[in-house]
Symmetry: C2
Subunit: 251 residues, 2 copies
DNA sequence: CCAGGTTTCTAACATATGTTAGTCACGAAG
DNA sequence: CTTCGTGACTAACATATGTTAGAAACCTGG
């Protein structure tokens, strides 16, 4: 019995996506995990490295990013407690992007080989992990659109809406109010903008009464308008996956 | 014995990623598929729809895209013969983006339920399909970077390099020369640019002797320079997946 | 309570890319 | 051979966002 703490979280997470039976649960709990605490800004995975264990984020925030040849950074996704941080890199073997801590994080590390074995022997668990990576991919797609086709105000509005919804789903926010764990520079790196411009837009959102900010805390005052400006629709988050998806299971 | 034509392609595709045994192959060949021919520009999947069958692209080109609230289009990926077109939407149940034919296409359609059953009963096949979707996701990540952090010339250079490599891998191009199956407007929708600007940049690439164009055919004259301008590195394509990844299989 | 780093915020100015509007070239259809 | 529609291409002009640089606010550790 290693450490039920993190693994129970995996069970709960996958259980919203696929139906797990008691053997599935037992197999998950039998995983050998290593707990670790990670400093803010520390790298957990670096692009180009071979990846041997998959990271589960227990507390804190982390993000994935790539750096261009001329040193610009683009953030690819932001992760919240309870999420697999790196099934993407793990299953492909060679990391094609960096994973870095945003705040101090507690993580559980699972050897990739054990995860592969689990997926083979317990197909439902494998399917749950697969779906997890598919939802990551759905978010990537939406970010391509965000960064490719929306203007600066829409991009930021979209990002703020996404965070609100995901944080609320994770039980980390209520009433459209939350602590944003990022600097304006990081927001810029999420949206393909410049820190200066992010500041301008955030200020403008304040003027328009869309949001209220105090330090890192954000409150969305006019949800419907912000959502409209950000062209935000929750479909791509597939939050109900486990609803319809679940029912059509094989056999 | 339905139609070996398309399914043999699936076998070959997955076999480069995971080791399939004869039972795996047999199970794939036992799939019931429906062949269909698709007109250029026809939709194969629409955002918001429930998806009941997964499409395998046998010949022709197709692409995925989303449309923003104000009607702008962003292309998310371009697909070549032999690729699964829509494992992403299929496995999630509800389409979060559109899939459209670029040229006339021959496709094979496989019911999602059969695919799920296959993944459960033949874990190696399931893992192969999973990896396929992970590589899609890796390409999405690179596109976020492309569109978020590179200037117009880099974006297009990157895209042209990606096509060159993928087309060569698919046996559809040689010597850095290929038929580009897209209009300049579509190139613009891939890169988050405007058709006018794509035209400017393409012209400039010609002036600089980077590429030569004749109608839709493209020849890359200075591969190393174009690759440098586009900040292009093949790592994210995981073309060797089946090499290192394959060897670390479970057990 | 100070010192030094980080983050926020501003202003003035620069520019890459978008917009509009149109001509030209070409291939398909009749 | 003509017509029509689409895609390629251009020019003149507009603007959203980037750049540079610095001041102010704020944390954090000593």
């Amino acid at each position: 019995m290693a450490t039920p703490l993190g693994l129970e979280r995996v069970v709960r997470r996958l259980d919203t996506r696929v139906r797990l039976d008691s053997e599935d649960r037992a197999a998950i709990h039998a995983l050998q995990v290593t707990h670790r605490s990670v400093e803010p800004a520390a790298y957990m995975v670096r692009e180009g490295e071979a990846v041997e264990s998959c990271i589960l984020l227990l507390s804190g925030f982390a993000y994935r990013h790539k750096v261009t040849g001329d040193g610009q950074r683009q953030i690819l996704s932001v992760h919240m407690p309870g999420e697999f941080l790196d099934l993407q890199n793990s299953m492909l073997g060679l990391a094609d992007h960096n994973v870095q801590a945003l705040t101090r994080c507690e993580v559980a590390m699972v050897p990739v080989s054990a995860l592969r074995k689990l997926a083979e022997e317990r197909p439902q668990v494998g399917r749950g992990m697969w779906i997890d990576t598919l939802i990551d991919a759905a978010i990537f797609r939406e970010w391509i659109v965000n960064v490719g086709r929306r203007d600066s105000m829409s991009r930021l509005a979209h990002l703020l809406c996404e965070f609100a919804i995901r944080l609320e789903a994770a039980g980390l926010a209520r009433d459209r109010r939350y602590e944003l764990p990022m600097t304006q520079e990081q927001l810029a790196d999420c949206t393909g903008l410049t820190p200066v411009h992010v500041n301008r837009v955030l200020k403008e959102m304040g003027h328009q009464g869309l949001i209220a900010r105090d330090k890192r805390s954000v409150e969305i005052l006019q949800w419907d308008r912000l959502r409209h400006i950000g062209d935000f629709n929750t479909r791509y988050l597939h939050m109900e996956a486990g609803g319809p998806t679940n029912l059509q299971s094989a056999r």
